[in-house]
Symmetry: C2
Subunit: 229 residues, 2 copies
């Protein structure tokens, strides 16, 4: 299965080989990797090197090691790379506003895609969330519903990558805007304005009016920005 490796940066080559096997579809989601002993033999390296490579892939979120059962290619990549990304943002001294801006950039066009591609079932799902949002005055609940609303728009874009990236950005930004989000929703006049914007957004998507959807999403972000900058 594996080939012998030569150089000093052994673990990099192991990662490289695993990558090739994924590329060639020898390894797929959920697959079990050979045991560390077998990999070490196949690769002609120490078990310590194999373990280094596996731990690295685990940190990155590509494999998971199940107690006593071995190592598996992950089924689900949710939360993947959000850890290293968040360390990077801190090291870069990234301004939370930059992260927020990237989220805005993506959401402005995601809603355009949603208006183009949304299905009737997805429209109903969004309508249900909006009704819940209007009837609910529990702040914590509203934060969750509000997030779900945006998630469902991303889902309607039909682009898995966009959904994942927005998820990661949301997680990162959550630490920064948690309080402001609560402040926005706690203010009754804001909540009313947001409910109105959400309704308009829903109508624009439903009517497949792409430029209207874009415009309303922009207004939506303007409202939020008044609170976070």
């Amino acid at each position: 299965m594996f080939n012998q490796v030569k150089n000093t940066k052994v673990y990099e080559q192991i990662v490289e080989q695993i990558k090739s096997m994924v590329e060639d579809e020898i390894l797929k989601k959920g697959d079990k990797l050979p045991s560390e002993r077998v990999m070490a033999e196949d690769l002609g390296v120490s078990r310590a090197s194999v373990r280094e490579a596996l731990r690295a892939l685990e940190v990155v979120g590509l494999i998971e090691s199940k107690q006593g059962a071995g190592n598996y290619i992950k089924e689900d990549f949710g939360g993947l790379i959000s850890e290293p990304l968040s360390i990077m943002f801190m090291l870069q001294g990234s301004d939370p506003i930059d992260i927020f801006e990237l989220r805005e950039v993506i959401e402005l066009e995601t809603v355009v895609l949603a208006a183009r591609k949304i299905t009737d079932t997805q429209l109903e799902g969004i309508k249900d969330i909006l009704n819940e949002l209007k009837e609910n005055f529990d702040e914590d609940q509203n934060v969750i519903l509000d997030k779900k609303f945006h998630y469902m728009i991303a889902e309607a874009s039909g682009n898995k990558l966009i959904i994942d990236v927005l998820e990661v950005l949301s997680q990162l930004i959550d630490n920064f805007i948690k309080d402001s989000r609560k402040n926005i929703l706690a203010d009754t006049s804001n909540k009313e304005e947001l409910d109105k914007l959400h309704d308009k957004l829903y109508d624009a998507i439903k009517n497949r009016d792409e430029s209207k959807a874009h415009y309303i999403m922009k207004e939506h972000f303007s409202l939020i920005k008044r609170y976070i900058s």
Copy 2:
């Protein structure tokens, strides 16, 4: 410097502690980490565990190990996470079109930010590239110049995160659209149309006309999409 760790997933806790130190600005870009021996002693774990954690951080691209000199927090995160991201895309069975679409999504709004924030020096830089592009008929050169043009627009957005993310997406997509990009630029009528669109884009940015810039970028992507889908 470090605290003793308890649990089984030792390397995760080490990564966690390094993350905390970055958060608290005890560790900064370019800083040298303590030796593996010292870290193992501070943490009360084996050197093998420390090495696992360090290799993981290296794969993620957060630290680099310099031969004989020890481990350093990276100065530059270029190319960071593009490796794990590309493995993930393959495992997800991500459609290249999805990656392309996310790039379009980001570029459509990045040019809006550029129109809002660009400096005179940056405008001159873009003008120079466009002149080179028009005078040049070497395909390989044009591919590089064309990329540079888009990179400079991203730079003008003033958002480091957007620049990084577009870079990663570009790299990933390069493998997929390399040939189509050449095909587009090899066709003289396309090259003329692209030159015209680039000029219009430049004018819109220069005139701080955000919606025009957005509109032209959309046309620009329509032209490319005719070749890749």
